[in-house]
Symmetry: C2
Subunit: 230 residues, 2 copies
């Protein structure tokens, strides 16, 4: 039986954009596991397994429910030890937490400010109302204000990726010669932007853009199969 991945969706239900759901999706593909996705708007997450989780991703593996992208990766690693490893050892597991913390603090916040209104605009009506109210309350500004002047913030966003850029001079993936979950942790937010916003983030000759391209090609082009926002 296929694993079910509850996956955030836009108004166009085939547009799956959540950075955290992409981390889980890439982890499932990395393990070579069969899975189906269930497009879930923000306002219907509470219907998954009687309110099991306030957020997606959630996976249902034959009745075993797991939430949170990192916990899903840990679950898959332990439940399917004979499949390709997401961490390649205890050190990789622990250090991936640092990569996650870096992405959550150095990549997600500046990136959100570049695309937050674009996210809103591609949501279905009930989700638009929820998204605007919750984000404007959290940040104390309108979505329009937050996204305004994004061209001026683009250099700072690109500079925030400098740790990845420097590392890419040494090796093609955070996982070394091939990708590990630590790569998906950074791929997630860049794929989020690609799928939900037409705003161009990276210049073509950026090593980060080349790495992102390599990630889009992984697992039969799973990431690339999701069309970029136009």
């Amino acid at each position: 039986m296929s694993i079910i991945l509850y996956d955030l969706c836009a108004r166009d239900q085939s547009r799956r954009f959540s950075p955290h759901c992409w981390k889980a999706r890439m982890a499932l593909a990395h393990k070579g596991l069969a899975f189906e996705t269930r497009g879930t708007p923000f306002t219907r997450i509470k219907e998954i397994a009687e309110g099991f989780s306030p957020t997606v991703p959630v996976i249902d593996d034959g009745g075993t429910l797991v939430r949170d992208s990192f916990d899903i990766a840990l679950y898959l690693e332990d439940a399917y030890p004979d499949r390709p490893s997401l961490f390649q050892g205890e050190g990789g597991r622990s250090e991936a937490r640092f990569v996650e913390s870096w992405a959550l603090t150095a990549v997600h916040p500046p990136l959100l400010s570049l695309i937050i209104k674009d996210i809103h605009d591609r949501l279905d009506q009930p989700d638009q109302a929820y998204f605007r109210a919750s984000r404007e309350k959290r940040f104390g500004r309108t979505l329009e204000d937050m996204q305004a002047g994004r061209d001026e913030r683009l250099d700072a966003f690109r500079a925030a990726l400098q740790p990845l850029r420097l590392m890419l001079a040494k090796q093609p993936f955070i996982g070394g010669d091939g990708p590990l979950f630590a790569d998906y942790v950074v791929f997630g937010p860049l794929q989020w932007a690609r799928v939900i916003s037409p705003f161009a983030l990276l210049v073509e000759d950026d090593p980060v853009a080349a790495w992102f391209d390599r990630c889009l090609d992984l697992h039969g082009g799973l990431g690339r199969a999701m069309p970029a926002a136009a």
Copy 2:
């Protein structure tokens, strides 16, 4: 026979402050290997093994010379596989490169601007002349200009450590329950500042300060045995 570690020294030759040498020293201690250090000022690095390396650390392991802190860690891991691991697997080895790249781009540069004149002031005379000339040429400003106004840059430096801070809510070390080389990669620059500058970097209740304290206690208090700059 003990491994020899060529280690940058200040005017007081017992003051060993190089962030990169501290990474190598902690790696040697982590492996439980006997080693002796040779205090080496900047201007005498060229005398090590007939100009083997333009920088320290350099180790001499019974005639095998290795330079660069990360390469030294890799060498020790492979040469002493039965000793405690510095990486705990291939994933830990690869992801440590990301941690190193983060430290080199997000921690070292802002930290250097907080302590660069203090470094100069604790060097011996020939090293002071070399350090001033090389750094002023590299950065296009005087050491005094670079360090000026450091109080105003302290908040930005502390904010740059946010990835580590967030991770520490999950686990006590980058290596998980215990330290790995990835921890030493970040310990190095903070120990650099502690040993060469009296400028206070962290507030007491910062989780990063608690982690740094734990690192100072490792391996019989190796880091703490080096007195802080007064």
